[in-house]
Symmetry: none
Subunit: 406 residues, 2 copies
């Protein structure tokens, strides 16, 4: 079933609020066999709302509206909807009594201004609100069914789960299936070239590339679950080096799982990332089993005094060098008595670069029983992007080491 | 100037991505005299994009499109735009050379699939991309100007700031002025009560409260800059304890500025925040002047061996206690020879809580010449929220200490 979405409110257009309702709805209709194919955001005025209702593409079967039905809200959205669908409001005595009782239970008299919440359409339905007092509205015309909900996320979600998602499921024959493959360490274009020939063998499977600074997510969807499985079984071996997990998995989760499996512990010595890798390790509940902690060695003083990087090394090669990265990793491994030591040092920018050592030059060091390795990267001019890309590269180096892939 | 927004991509409709570009654009056009009045999100296919371009309301003067300009197969947006605006693509040899050089500088050959990024329209303009390789497109028809940008936020923002916002400003007579006051350490309702009487004296100034887990932003807007200034001059002294900066200022920027002013250095000893405070300090360019580094003391072993927290303290009071927080702050200040030591220890959750020490129980320790203090908080059941709120509380404690406000 094809779903259209109308989100109503100036705060969405002027950016005072990010429209998280839209992405929640987009995700959640899929399992019921729906897919959002069109979305319009408009101001809370009659002309804009009518324009949106008129603009719904002909392919759409169900329209979900959010916003403009809250308890503190004026009447514009419901009034426009009643008019548009040719319905008349009736006062719903029994709901008014229920509301009055709710207020009385809290020791308050119900304000007259709440009367509009007790209105219901003469043709059309109300949608129960399990977590609030403003009910939703359900109208039908010859083109689509229209469901109007409050913009408050908890109320919208409750109406979706109790009423609208079951309605979508009852009207849908086909279910959509989705598999997400998260990758890192490869650019979108290179990833595409690697799997292009497989993709072209599955024209009815949809595959989307979602690039981020830290990697590319592959989102594979189809109504045929077997076909997805078949395709994934062909893609997975080719991208093994890059593929670290599925939907909702962060690289720190994947590395954590490998550390638990291998029974190894890790410690970090961070210069340019400033604590970001430790932050990411400790985002995972249970990480105390393998993450011992670390040293944020932001000054040379700390690199030398705490981690034991030799002054000779700092003077001869500089703080941003393969040699320093290695001594940092070795030092933190020894100091914190971990199996693995992981270090970062680099020029995060935006200032501090030279011809020889430009902004974005980063070294990652890895120390383990039996060896030490350093890795060199040149990232971007942006400080925050460099920090994030460095943390991702360091975690991925650890993942490949634990997997014994190179 | 009235702006319409078209965001393109199945990932926005199916909820794989939240549309943060839309809210950023909504916020940022205002200062240039624009306001987003209409927004449509559509799939990356010809019919949907054409439908969106056709649907732009007559009142709109400028249309901004994001998404669909990357190097992969599903990017049909440029083709549709060329067609729609009656332009033909020309291969831009000099830009292709530039791109090839960029890839070569990173030791990579440029993939053939990047060729479409070197196309430019025969009628219409390209929008320079200061941070990426895909340029934007600018077309004009008899109804509106249309600007197409990549969906990658950093690239979109760079194009907006360098090219499109100046264009909007050049076409706008009325400027909207916005002042943002960022606060932390006070809830929305309490903040409202403090400034309610001032707000009511300025009915034509718009004030929005934007609450986050880490604080509340006040967004004050009007076409009359003097009136905003007058209102802010009355609000500022009342909220001094909570107000740390304006638009785009993070708490770590404010604390960094105070550290520079006072000539003091700081070091961190992080347990439950795992490196997040160090990460935030080092997000600020120039932070090496005052941030010496820190210890991520995630295990008791590190708290004792490196920071010198007494085993007696750990055994008698536990790792999550005022006493441990104090010894961590004292220890890191001594070890890293900084003027200030800042520590965190707590139960981030979601597991590990007890009746006596529930999830969300956090202590922050502060050590400085002449004294040591500990602060107790009880936050939420959510691990990531607790880490973020703890880092915010610790930074704010440092801010108030440096301001000598309590």
């Amino acid at each position: 079933m094809k779903i259209g979405l109308i989100t109503i409110g100036a705060e969405l257009l002027n950016g005072a609020r990010t429209d998280t309702n839209a992405s929640w709805i987009g995700q959640n209709v899929i399992a019921s066999g729906g897919s959002v194919e069109w979305h319009m955001t408009v101001n809370d005025d009659k002309k804009s709302i009518v324009n949106a209702l008129d603009s719904v593409p002909i392919s759409i079967d169900g329209v979900l509206c959010t916003g403009g039905l809250g308890p503190t809200h004026d009447d514009i959205t419901p009034t426009v909807l009643y008019d548009y669908f040719g319905a008349k409001p009736k006062f719903d005595e029994s709901y008014w009594e229920l509301l009055s009782e709710k207020f009385a239970a809290r020791g308050r008299a119900i304000p007259e201004s709440n009367r509009n919440q007790a209105m219901r359409p003469d043709t059309g339905e109300v949608i129960p609100n399990p977590v609030g007092s403003a009910r939703g509205l359900h109208f039908t015309n010859d083109r689509y069914d229209c469901f109007a909900m409050p913009g408050v996320p908890s109320e919208m979600k409750a109406m979706m789960q109790n009423t609208i998602l079951p309605w979508i499921a009852s009207k849908s024959d086909v279910k959509h299936h989705i598999v997400v493959l998260r990758t890192t360490g490869i650019m979108e274009s290179a990833l595409y070239e690697k799997i292009e020939s497989i993709i072209s063998n599955y024209p009815i499977v949809n595959i989307a590339f979602l690039p981020r600074f830290t990697g590319v997510d592959l989102r594979i969807s189809s109504t045929d679950a077997d076909l997805i499985e078949e395709m994934v079984s062909q893609i997975a071996p080719i991208i093994k080096k890059y593929h670290f997990g599925g939907e909702g998995v962060e690289l720190e989760n994947a590395v954590g799982r490998l550390l638990v499996q291998s029974g190894k512990t890790i410690a970090t010595a961070e210069s340019c990332t400033g604590g970001l890798i430790g932050d990411r390790f400790t985002n995972v509940s249970g990480s105390s089993a393998y993450y011992k902690g670390g040293i944020v060695a932001y000054s040379n003083e700390v690199k030398h005094n705490i981690l034991g990087v030799k002054n000779k090394t700092l003077n001869a090669y500089g703080a941003v060098s393969e040699e320093t990265a290695l001594e940092m990793a070795i030092g933190v491994r020894r100091l914190l008595k971990s199996n693995i030591g992981l270090s970062t040092t680099g020029i995060a920018g935006p200032t501090g670069g030279t011809d020889e050592k430009p902004v974005g030059l980063i070294y990652v060091g890895l120390s383990y029983e039996g060896g030490n390795k350093a890795f060199k990267f040149i990232f971007t001019p942006s400080r925050l992007t460099n920090k994030r890309m460095t943390s991702q590269a360091a975690l991925n180096i650890t993942r490949l080491f634990l997997l014994d892939v190179s």
